[in-house]
């Protein structure tokens, strides 16, 4: 597992030299290499501006490293954060804010739709049509009792009516 670490460490140490700026005697090969693909703007920079940028970066690095060294090099106990540090430790409560402002209202909206729109609007006409079929079915259910004698009576009534109509039309 350590071989990839060593290879990457070599890259991390020396990859910067592929784009060494002119001020350190380089030729910015990567910028040069990429230039056909990119539309770069090369606005006015100057030697002194570049020195300023480099100086500020090195100073920032030095100060940051020094403070970390002072506070943590010789071991330190886990502090109890208060004030701004606590705010930062809790990530400015951004997750909680998103939860309160977006996730919760979104869920509430979902529940609202589930309770109102779903049953009455989108499912409404489907439910009405099934209810109509049910009514239709229960109305006819009255005639379906399951006794053979009842169906025999239906037959007799039907045959009598048919005979009546036939005799009427034949006259």
């Amino acid at each position: 597992m350590t071989v990839p670490l060593i290879i990457l460490a070599v890259g991390a140490a020396f990859a910067g030299y592929l784009n060494l700026p002119g001020i350190f005697g380089g030729h910015q090969q990567v910028t040069h290499w990429l230039s056909p693909s990119l539309l770069e703007s090369h606005a006015g920079g100057s030697h002194s501006l570049e020195l300023l940028a480099i100086g500020a970066s090195i100073a920032a690095f030095g100060i940051g490293l020094y403070i970390a060294y002072k506070k943590f090099y010789h071991g330190a106990e886990e502090p109890v954060y208060t004030g701004f540090a606590k705010f930062g430790y809790n990530l400015f409560y951004v997750d909680q804010m998103y939860d309160a402002l977006i996730v919760k209202p979104y869920h509430a909206f979902g529940r609202f739709i589930k309770r109102t729109l779903e049953p009455y609007v989108t499912d409404g006409h489907v439910k009405v049509s099934t209810a109509l079929y049910q009514m239709f079915g229960s109305a006819f259910k009255v005639f379906q009792v399951g006794y053979v004698r009842v169906y025999a009576i239906y037959m007799i009534i039907g045959l009598s009516l048919m005979s009546l109509f036939l005799s009427q039309t034949l006259n």
Partner: protein, 448 residues
């Protein structure tokens, strides 16, 4: 010079084949006796290794061309053709994608090798490598695609794989939630990308919807559309590359196995947004307003994440926020129209962040999955190789003079100053100091 080649498509195809083969093997044996880890790991690294070699080949071929016409293309097939929209599954290797290819394949392959050790004895060893191969393949499609639509295939692919890998240990509900969060937040960003792409097509898509045609027609975009396209595409980038307001998924993405974090942070996934902005530099360069917004969002993200990084106690969270912060620098770079500086920082960051994550992985592995830096200390003697390699990584991240991170970060800050954005420079320098502080806070607590 012949611009059409036949091997570009193989670069993403190799890991994708690996993903299918390993995935099938895992699927058919997951209830019975599994194949040996040796077989899985051999199959898992074949694809990435071949891709790396082909990437070198493509890079050298592009390099051999005359400077003004450096590109290789391959049209594999016509994907679909509807009305004026004609999209083919095509690949393009120009200097930008060739450089991205080199380090994505190289670092991706190293992480594959590292994972063989890290994931040993995991019951889902095969599944892990199937996903890892799929991840790399998707990223390579994203980088190599010859137009926004093919890029979008890779874009969605890496989104899917990050979801699968973040929630890899799915027995724990928190991991599943972290995977969901990554997926949903990315979907929000993707909406911006899709809308941006649609506007782009609406504006100038009729004359070909690949980068070369779009670049030639970019000056025909109506200004209002142009700005909208830039900003919508940037919304996509904030999702994928974890910028304000969509950065929230990346720190939670630590739920996945550590090599996955290394892959997400270094080679695949989060660099996609920066690459995309650089890829569309032919539009962004025309709209300095969009660039300024991108730069400010970037540098403020850098500041916010650096503040968070200073107080975290989970070693992986510190590194996660440092990634968000460094991505902010990259966007500041591309925002101030120093696209090559932004991409160069992507390049150097890939090395030192992969190094730091793999080092952190070794520490976590050695301490039986302890991640709290306050409970660590004195590992310097116990793990000398990790100690020294991570020292290089930490120095590079902190911007120590003459290591990789120094040159790339300094280039961005200098370009911000030179291109007339002193405010961005001031915040950038402040963040540089904070970076040195939180990096060595972590380093000293772990090793001393």
């Amino acid at each position: 010079m012949e611009h059409t080649v036949t091997y570009l498509g193989l670069i993403p195809l190799m890991p994708l084949i690996g993903a299918v083969v390993i995935g099938m093997m895992h699927m058919f044996t997951c209830t019975g006796k599994p194949f040996s880890e040796k077989l899985y790991s051999t199959l898992a690294v074949i694809g990435p290794v071949i891709s790396t070699l082909l990437a070198f080949k493509a890079f050298l071929a592009v390099k051999a061309m005359p400077e003004e016409s450096r590109y290789l293309t391959q049209k594999v097939f016509t994907w679909f053709s509807v009305g004026e929209l004609d999209v083919s599954m095509g690949f393009l290797a120009d200097p930008l994608s060739a450089l991205m290819l080199l380090f994505v394949t190289f670092i991706g392959t190293l992480i594959h090798f590292y994972s063989i050790g890290y994931m040993a004895k995991d019951e889902n060893f095969g599944k892990f490598f199937a996903y890892l191969n799929l991840f790399l393949g998707s990223m390579l499609i994203l980088v190599l695609g010859d137009g926004p639509v093919v890029m979008f295939v890779g874009w969605e692919g890496v989104g899917l794989c990050s979801y699968l890998l973040i929630s890899f240990y799915s027995e724990d509900r928190d991991n599943v939630l972290a995977g969901n969060k990554a997926f949903i937040v990315n979907r929000i960003g993707d909406l911006g990308f899709v809308l941006g792409m649609s506007f782009l097509f609406w504006a100038i898509g009729a004359n070909g919807f690949d980068y070369l045609s779009l670049k030639a027609n970019a000056h025909n975009i109506a200004p209002a559309y142009g700005l909208a396209i830039c900003l919508l595409l940037f919304v996509g980038a904030t999702g994928k590359s974890a910028q304000i307001p969509l950065y929230v998924w990346l720190p939670d993405a630590m739920a996945g196995p550590t090599p996955v974090s290394a892959l997400i942070h270094a080679a695949t996934m989060v660099t996609a947004g920066v690459y995309m902005v650089a890829r569309f530099s032919f539009i962004y360069a025309l709209y300095p307003t969009a660039g300024t917004i991108v730069a400010w969002v970037g540098i403020l993200t850098a500041l916010l994440a650096a503040v968070f990084g200073m107080f975290q106690k989970d070693i992986k969270k510190v590194l996660a926020y440092s990634t968000v912060s460094q991505l902010g620098y990259m966007f500041a770079g591309v925002g101030v129209a120093a696209y090559s500086a932004g991409i160069f920082h992507v390049f150097t960051h890939a090395f030192f962040k992969a190094l730091l994550f793999l080092g952190a992985g070794s520490v976590i592995y050695a301490l039986h999955h302890q991640q709290d830096i306050w409970k660590m200390g004195g590992l310097k003697e116990k793990m000398p190789i990790t100690y020294y390699t991570m020292l290089i990584g930490a120095l590079a991240l902190a911007g120590c003079p003459f290591l990789s991170g120094f040159f790339s970060k300094d280039e961005i800050l200098y370009m911000a100053l030179a291109n007339g954005h002193p405010g961005i420079w001031v915040v950038g320098v402040l963040v540089a100091g904070m970076t040195a502080y939180y990096t060595f806070r972590m380093y000293f607590l772990v090793f001393h």
